[in-house]
Amino acid sequence: MNLAGRLIEKLIMSHLIEIITASDPDIRNRSLDAFCRTASRELLLAECTALDEFRRQSDNLYERVRALFFLYAIHRFHLPLKEGMDQGGIIPFDGYMNLLNRRYQEAIEVFVAEQVGEGPNDSISSALAVAYRGLGFQTLADQVRRSVRSVCGNQWMFRTGHPADHPLRVRHELRRRQNDMFPILREVTPVRMDLTHSGWSDIFFLGMDFPEGARVINTSIDLSVRHNGRSTPPAPPVEAYFRVIDEPLLRLTSVDLGATAVVTSLSEIFDFARDYLGLLKAAVIASGIVPPGMEGAGQPLADLLAQLVGPGYGIEIVSRVNDIPKGSRLAVSTSLLASLIAVCMRATGQAENLTGKLSENERRLVAARAILGEWLGGSGGGWQDSGGVWPSMKLISGELSGPSDPEYGTSRGRLLPSHRIFTDDEVSAETRRQLQDSLVLVHGGMAQDVGPILEMVTEKYLLRSEAEWAGRQEAISILDEVVELLRQGDVQAIGNATDRNFHGPIQTIIPWTGNLYTDLLNQRVKAEFGDDFWGFWMLGGMAGGGMGFIFNPLRKEEAQDRLQHIMSETKQELERAVPFAMEPVVYDFSINELGTYAELSVGDAALMPPGYYALIVPSLLRMDMGRLPLFRRAELDRFGEACRNEPELGGMVQMLFDRLLPRELDDGGSVQDLDTLLNEFGFDRMQHEQIRADLRGGRIGLAKNRLPVNSQIEDVTPEDLYDATGGMAEVWHDLGTDAMANGAVAVVSLAGGAGSRWTKGAGVVKALNPFAKLGGVHRNFVEVHLAKSRRMGRKVGKTIPHVITTSYLTHDPIASYLAREDNYHYPGPLLLSPGRVVGLRMIPMVRDLRFAWEETAQQLLDEQAQKVVDGLHNALIGWARQMGEGNDYSDNLPMQCLHPVGHWYEIPNLMRNGVLARLLSVRPELQYLMVHNIDTLGVDVDPAILGSHIDRGSAWTSEVITRQIEDRGGGLARVDGHVRLIEGLALPREEIEFDLSYYNTNTYWISIDRLLELFGLTRAELDDEVLVATAVRKLATRMPTYITIKDVKKRWGHGQEDIYPVTQFEKLWGDMTALPEMDCSYVVVPRLRGQQLKEVAHLDGWLRDGSATYLESLCEWG
């Protein structure tokens, strides 16, 4: 480029950099989208070059991060839509591997070099988008980590590496026994409630980027759960206990999780996933008892304890959460972490007072340590989550960083905000009382993963996307309004404001915060309480879990009772479509005026909570009393005395007796259920035993899924397929339209699968999940597919038969939904095709787990999160050994032990269950089936593609799309000279996939008679069950069986969930293309038509990149 060209380029490029670097807020807060909408492809590419150069040179964290997010958004949302952008290209495998290993910078170098060499295209842009986004979040996370480490009071913990250097000592008050009993320090901590929904402004990154907008009205509350319309008086829900013991070890117990562990080595402390005590371990580390600097130290834990407490002594820490379920959106886990940290800090002299309240400075340090603890445990929320450490109602505000802050010069805001507790003038006692009398707090029971939402918010705020940025301003003004209304004491108006906030800015920023469940609850409460329902109030990251409803105080008690019913009924309606973790609950609450608070019990009063003894005493009683330490014997004496004399320990003796002599578990029912289900759903015991034997014998397994390594696998050439992305011949369109008008085509939607990536193994039906608002209403996948068939049927003047294949997992829910919704008023034949085969999950082989985790490319996580995952993997390998590799998996609800066996069976099922025969009797003119996945939302009965299929006379036409980075799992290839679809599982080496230009959409056009011919059947023979079954079994043996590892959820306790890997097998329909006698064609379709919506986390991008709008254009709602 000549000098003038460079000058022009520089002038042009300055535009986005100017936005990033501007000190004037009007310029700095300009939207990227607005600029990109009118910019040409060339201009955007030039901007990308400039931004990439700029972010490499800038020293300022936020300039760098904003440039990275701009680059991400341009590549993800804008460049692919620009005129002249090439479709398809190769994504270099080494760049992909860099992404998996979080080496984003190197990945960007590889992708940019590819872009320069081969020219820009949407494939490489998709890869660049992922890399820039990853680098953006990595840069932000690194900064938060640095800030946490550099908070004054935390730094020493990272320097202390040897037990002999440990500078803390347990306070003498705790080492002094009375009546042989060590004193117990008990910390009680309220949880926090966010009165306005902060618009997620307390996410660390956002507070540091825009501290002026980071504000939260945060209230510390005590809670109790109502049971059958009654509850005990609210109390601080979180408790932590600390005491010295006369054994040189660390004993950790979580009363509510029923878990206890004796820790004798330093390495065990840093193994968070080993048991359910990760939170306690994080607190032990973050409080400095075992400073983070000691990770990897080889010295005995006893040496460290000798320094801390004295030779021969140790520490016991106990946590308890009083009946509050997980996912309450009240920051229970952060409050518990803070409570544990506070008790440990007091015990080691890091707080001035052993008991009572903490000073402001100490609260701040506890909050900073809680952030550190969350990071250690691989999680993290926002800074308001430790609000329960402070008392009462307060305004928490982001702060500009000053010269004395570690963030100064790096980010505009500080990591830690400031807390201002409202005075009585600002919120009178009367207003506080009214608030308590009006608000009904609930847990709706939904299982939620707010992680993706927090990332979406971060991204949108940093991009200053127009609507979202305006929404943020509105949310900020609503906060000001609530502050004023609190001063005025107008609770009804507060209800109105929080309601407006939820339905307005919050859902503008993140549409996924609301859902069908919350919409229905709001409607039903409104219908029942009318004007006495003053407003909905969303708590935390997303609705469906913790929520608030504000009522006229006169009707609060009635509302509490009714809400319990309304929520339970609504949950029952939706529970097969929406993941619920537990039964909904209603709380009683009161404002806590103390914040975190500690008391010391000494002598005979120094007992742990009753639940602790229920857990510990049975094992102590089995031991020889003479071998128990003196203090344990004394404790048992006191406990026995308390059981006899204190009414609150009334049922304890019976409970201990039951634990000592457990009754035989009556699980006969569930085993029987499982057997019944297996019989009912067509379980093939012989095949199962064969698979088990092969699995244990090493004849099948993850590694054996792959084709031989000497298979010749190449990319296809343009002659191997035809391109429908640039439009199709008119003649095909007419041919297809005529065929449709003649009733020659039907649609088959594959809905038998578990959709495990979508539901995360929750056992709900993806097809029924109301995933998005379309046409102003929450719609599920089934309804969307029917709407497209309705539209096409109307256009050609002939209804299109629509078949939905189901399985044991999905049949009843889909059938009842369709019945309830009157088939969504679908005008044509609508049939369900129930599954005929089911598998029983097995405990995985350790070699398969190792293969999955160690030998296939895995996404490396953030350093600390990865440590947690590695620890978890070790624990799960131990679990598999303990349970018996290859054994049946039966330790869960019966339905969770079964598995669908892959979509290969879904078409043969049409023959076996008589649905195809019925269809042909209704529509004898039927010739073709369009088969598609339930999550291929953009697909419809396209007349031109149908026309081309007919014109070519193929038995089968597969739709493929050009590959983008997220399209993993095989593609179209020439395998040993034969063009076919190949599954990712079958590729001998992972990198081969990156040489394949096209990805399988799993949409197939099938000529019915040709398919029957392949099975050796005719239309007339479809009525012969035995013949059909034999034909299907015969062809099934020619299909490869893949062994896969899937995650399954097991729920327990109060909304707790564990995820286990299980082995299952599947056969896949795309492998039919490998049959030499199958006459296949392949067509490249536009991405909007062929892409699949696999993960909830992709919803936001799907909405923003035009996919949702495209889908709406295909639908006609009934």
């Binding site: 935390n154 020493w156 202390t160 250097d165 440990h166 500078p167 800090m345 400075n361």
Partner: protein, 286 residues
């Protein structure tokens, strides 16, 4: 300002017999710790010394210090009510004058010609205020010492204006309140065990002893912290060595330090080397 009186506290728990231990001083003569301390103090120009002892300890101390005649005085601390209380017990001896204060279980080895106390007293006299000696100390020793936070005074090497004093702080608190510019990471200014204090300290101690009502131990650190709020109070950073003879092997280490800095240096070094060599050679022969 003249500093003619000194108070040495020797009534602490486990501290009472330590000053009676015998060592070979750097001049090669055998002396008790008590005498070494008395000579250190007298070199600084002090004329009279008061030992704060538990009742009953006075006799062996007096016998050991007999050669210093009437310059040695004793007061009793009836109950072990803390370091601050021990100093407070000497208020009548001190009167309304500045005084030098040491603890009875520490020995000092100076790296220069002047003794540690000489330099301290000189600084206190020139600044005309209370001065405590301090030393940059790694944070893992914080559980053993009082520590100060403050700012270095420009153009006065090693002198700091004290802003806060905390007894045995945790590093958590030290990092927040006792960070001193110019010190290495993880190092704090901990007490070296010598102070020149103005008589105003007794007013503060009186308040604190009164508030404690004989039930709560009174620390000197708390009184010094208050002193820093009321008037100018400085810290002098020492680069010499102090030896706590009350800790495990403390007496032996102090003896070695004295020997290695005195006239018997070569003799002691030779004996140490012989000990080590013999041990290692013996091990190899095994």
């Amino acid at each position: 300002m003249e500093v003619t009186r000194a108070v040495i506290a020797a009534a602490g728990r486990g501290q009472r017999t330590l000053p009676l231990q015998t060592l070979v001083d750097s001049d090669g003569t055998e002396k008790s710790v008590l005498c070494i301390l008395i000579e250190e103090v007298l070199r600084a120009g002090v004329e009279e010394i008061c030992f704060v002892v538990r009742p009953g300890d006075e006799v062996p101390y007096a016998q050991e210090a007999a050669k210093y005649g009437g310059r040695i005085h004793f007061v009793h601390q009836e109950e072990p009510l803390g370091h601050g209380h021990a100093v407070y017990c000497a208020r009548n001896f001190v009167g309304n004058w500045p005084f030098l204060h040491l603890v009875g279980d520490h020995l000092y080895v100076s790296h220069s010609r002047d003794s540690c106390t000489q330099r301290l007293v000189r600084v206190a006299q020139s600044e005309a205020c209370s001065v405590s000696t301090v030393q940059a100390t790694r944070e893992n020793y914080l559980p053993y010492y009082g520590a100060v936070g403050g700012q270095r005074i420009r153009e006065k090497a090693d002198i700091y204006r004290v802003e806060s004093v905390i007894e045995k702080p945790t590093p958590t608190i030290a990092e927040q309140r006792l960070m001193v510019p110019g010190l290495r990471a993880g190092h704090y200014l901990c007490f070296f065990g010598m102070h020149v204090l103005m008589p105003a300290i007794f007013d503060i101690l009186e308040e604190q002893v009164g508030a404690g009502d004989g039930q709560i131990e009174v620390t000197l650190a708390d009184a010094l912290s208050e002193l820093a709020r009321r008037e100018q109070y400085l810290a002098l950073e020492m680069h010499d060595r102090r030896y706590d003879i009350g800790v495990r092997y403390g007496l032996m280490t102090a003896q070695l330090a004295l020997a290695l800095s005195g006239q018997d240096r070569d003799l002691v070094l030779t004996q140490l080397l012989e000990l080590l060599a013999g041990r290692e050679l013996g091990r190899k022969a095994d």
